[in-house]
Structure formats: C-alpha cells, structure tokens
C-alpha cells in the first residue's frame, strides 16, 4: 500500500516545541505542503517573527533569517529586493505583526513588496505567557487584562486582513481558520494562492490564520477549536478581502 498522506519533505522530522493541540503546527504543515507541491524548497527563504514561531528553522529545512520582533516584513523587503528571483516568506504572530510590527507590515504591503506573509492570529502573545494582543477579543481575560479586555481602555480587536486589504499594494489578503478539516484545507489553498501571487510577481500577499493557544487560553485543545469557531470567527470573519487578478495589475 502507498502512503497517501505523510509529513511533507519541507518539514524536518524534529518534534515541535508547540504545546499539544497548538495549530501553529498545522500552519507549519500546510505551508510545507504547498512548498513541496510548488517545488520551491530550494529557492525559498523563511523569516519568522519572534513568538512561538521563532524556531521555524528547526522545522523547515530551508534558509532562515531570525528577524527582530515585528520587523520581519522589513527584513523580507530588503531580502526580496536583493534577490527578486527567490521566494521570501514571513511567518508572524499577532503580537509580532499587529502590535510591535504594525508599521513594517503596513508599509511593506503599501509598497506592494512581492513577499508572502503568514499571520497566526491566536489572540494573545503566546510565547511570553498569554498577554493581551491587539487581536484579543473584548471581554477576553489574559494575563494583562485580568478583568477582561475592555474597549474603553484597551480598544477593539484589530482586523488586520481587512485593514491591509484597503492598501493598493496588496495583491492578496485573506483570513482563514485552522479549527476544522474543511477550514484547514481552505487555509492551505490560501497559502498556495499567496505563494502563487509571489511567483507571478503580483505583489504583497498575506494570509491571516485564526489559530489556537489553548495553553494561554487555559482550555483543552478540543475546547480551543470551539473557541476559534464560536468566539473568534464571529468577530474575525473568514474570507478573501482582496485578490488581484492579472488584469488589475498593470
């Protein structure tokens, strides 16, 4: 019998440091699968943000640059401009992309840098222990919003996929989720679309993935999937907010 599903070549066999049930692992796998399918593993360079994804280089057998927290899109800009023929992707958490790195991602998007960004929105700063992120839901308790996030003091959860979609330079902006098989498959298609945009030199692509952090949410892995479905998706609608077609792009 033949294996019809196995670990993609673009993942090493190292066990991840992720917590049980953390969908960072799922995101890693679907990106690796797309890298395999597109046959780009030899020409790709990855730039993780700082967060639970910082060990990207343990899991992807590819060239990797460790960027300062939030600055991966700027590093990717420099890298892609220096090597326009290589595929450059960025993998950031919501602290990294939507908090400290807000400016870098917006301007990389606005310039239409021909890079792909995978953005793991798990509504907290996972690695540092579950503090409030700009994407934390209203009412959500975190270690820095012990009484729940309140819009009058901490503001509203920020919708990056929508905001970036308003920028001309953006070729593709989508929000997907990793909480069910159907959604994981959708997410993978979005990843592929993002890479294809880059290969076709269409400009900036970004895929926001709703992801779990059961450890810091203090729920079980199973419950975490429910939280994504029942609490995150209602506020962070899934969908493609911008998709450039060949025709738009002069």
């Amino acid at each position: 019998m033949n294996a019809v599903f196995k670990r993609p070549d673009a993942l090493t066999d190292r066990e991840t440091h992720f917590c049980p049930g953390c969908t960072h692992g799922t995101a890693h796998r679907i990106i690796a699968e797309v890298i395999d399918e597109m046959g780009i593993v030899d020409d790709i360079i990855g730039i993780p943000g700082v967060g639970c994804c910082v060990f990207l280089y343990h899991y992807f057998p590819i060239d990797v640059l460790e960027a300062p927290h939030g600055r991966a899109p700027a590093c990717a800009t420099g890298m892609k401009r220096a090597q326009p023929d290589k595929i450059v992707f960025v993998y950031q958490g919501d602290g990294d992309l939507a908090a400290i790195g807000t400016s870098e991602v917006i301007h990389a998007a606005n310039r239409g840098e021909n890079i792909s960004i995978f953005f793991i929105n798990n509504s907290v700063y996972g690695m540092t222990g579950g503090q409030m992120a700009p994407t934390t839901l209203l009412g959500q308790q975190t270690t820095t919003t012990p009484y729940g996030r309140e819009f009058r003091t901490e503001g509203y959860p920020i919708k990056m996929a929508e905001m970036l979609a308003t920028l001309e330079g953006v070729a593709y902006s989508a929000r997907v989720s990793l909480h069910s098989p159907k959604h994981v498959n959708q997410a993978k298609r979005a990843v592929r679309k993002a890479f294809e945009m880059q290969v076709n030199q269409m400009g900036f692509s970004m895929v926001e993935m709703l992801s779990t952090c059961n450890t810091n949410w203090r729920v079980s892995p199973r419950e975490a999937l429910k939280v994504v479905e029942n609490e995150m998706i209602p506020y962070f609608p899934l969908g493609v907010f911008k998709e450039r077609t060949g025709k738009d792009f002069l």
């Binding site: 440091h17 917590c19 996972g126």
Partner: protein
C-alpha cells in the same frame, strides 16, 4: 546555620510546592531565605529547578553549584545535579523513575524513594513530591514537622485546602522511609 539545596523535576511533579513550603516555614522562623526557580522555555512539560538557600544570616549567593542536598524527581534532575552535590551531601531521588545504577557518587548520602508508588499508596499519585519532602524533613534539623504543617496552612490556596491532610500523611510517610534508609 547555613543550608543550600537544589530541587529538580519536570513540570507538574510539584517541586514548586514543596520548595515554597520549606521557604515559608523558614521565613516564619525568622530565617533568611532565597528561593530561585528557573523554568524551561517550553510552555508545558518543561523543567522546574529550584535553588534555595536558608540561613540565619544575610544570604550571599542565591545560587550554588555545590549544594548540601539535591532532591531529584526524575532522571534529568539526577543527571544535572548529581555531580554538583557537595561531598558528604544528601541525595534524595525518586527511584520510581530513576534507575539506581545511575547513582555513581560514593561520597554522598543517598535516600532512594519510590515516590510514585508511595504516593499511590498514600492515596493520590500527586503526592510524590510530599514523600520526597518528608525524607528531606527527616534529615534536616533546622525545621520541624510542625513548622511545615503550619506553613502548609499558609501556602496551600483555599480551594486546595482539602488536600492538606493527605499531604501531611505523605510527609510523615516520607520521614518514616528516610528513617528506614540505611545510610550509605
């Protein structure tokens, strides 16, 4: 009076609880204490090491590489700290998880405790740490069982108070086991 110790195990084994108990009891007596935990990076299943110094006087170094005792609840703990233990020092190890062959030092005192089995016997698999603490209590002279019992009341949060009697029972069992252990 000066005492230093390292307690080590994996997350969830209860190293924090027993070390905080010792620290609290010591403070209640007016002793100086320094308590330095060091955690691994991973969120779960990481390691917990506690470096503790207890003294009548101001404490200098909060960290020691020649502790007077080591409590090792798993193999990694033993591997990491066996060498450091001061000559003549005390090693308490969890022989439920650590094979006795791993003990190579012959200049130290060793207490092997089947903590996991004893814990189950004491009514709760989570009591392994208390078994070890009991053995530790038996071998130190600067804190008494009563003082630990008092500290327990302060340290254990309200919702877990119901476990106190079990804890105390396990400590007593640990003390008993330590008394039975022939000094090497």
């Amino acid at each position: 009076m000066y005492y230093d110790t390292i307690m080590s195990g994996f997350g969830g084994q209860g190293i924090q609880t027993i070390s905080i108990l010792v620290a609290t009891a010591a403070i209640n007596k007016g002793m100086e204490v320094s308590y330095l935990p060091s955690y691994g990076v991973e969120k779960r299943g990481g390691r917990t090491d506690v470096f503790m110094v207890l003294s009548d006087e101001e404490i200098g170094s909060p960290i020691t590489n020649h502790p007077l005792s080591v409590i090792a609840l798993d193999t990694i703990a033993l591997d990491t700290y066996q060498d450091q233990l001061a000559p003549g020092g005390l090693l308490i190890y969890n022989s439920s998880l650590i094979p006795g062959e791993l003990i190579v030092r012959d200049d130290i005192n060793v207490i092997a405790l089947k903590c996991n089995e004893e814990a189950v016997a004491a009514g709760n698999p989570k009591l392994a740490n208390m078994i070890a603490l009991g053995a530790f209590m038996e071998r130190i002279d600067f804190l008494s069982y009563d003082e630990i019992e008092e500290a327990m009341g302060e340290v254990i949060p309200e919702r877990l108070k119901k476990h106190i009697p079990g804890n105390l029972k396990a400590i007593l069992r640990g003390m008993e086991l330590a008394r039975e252990t022939v000094q090497v």
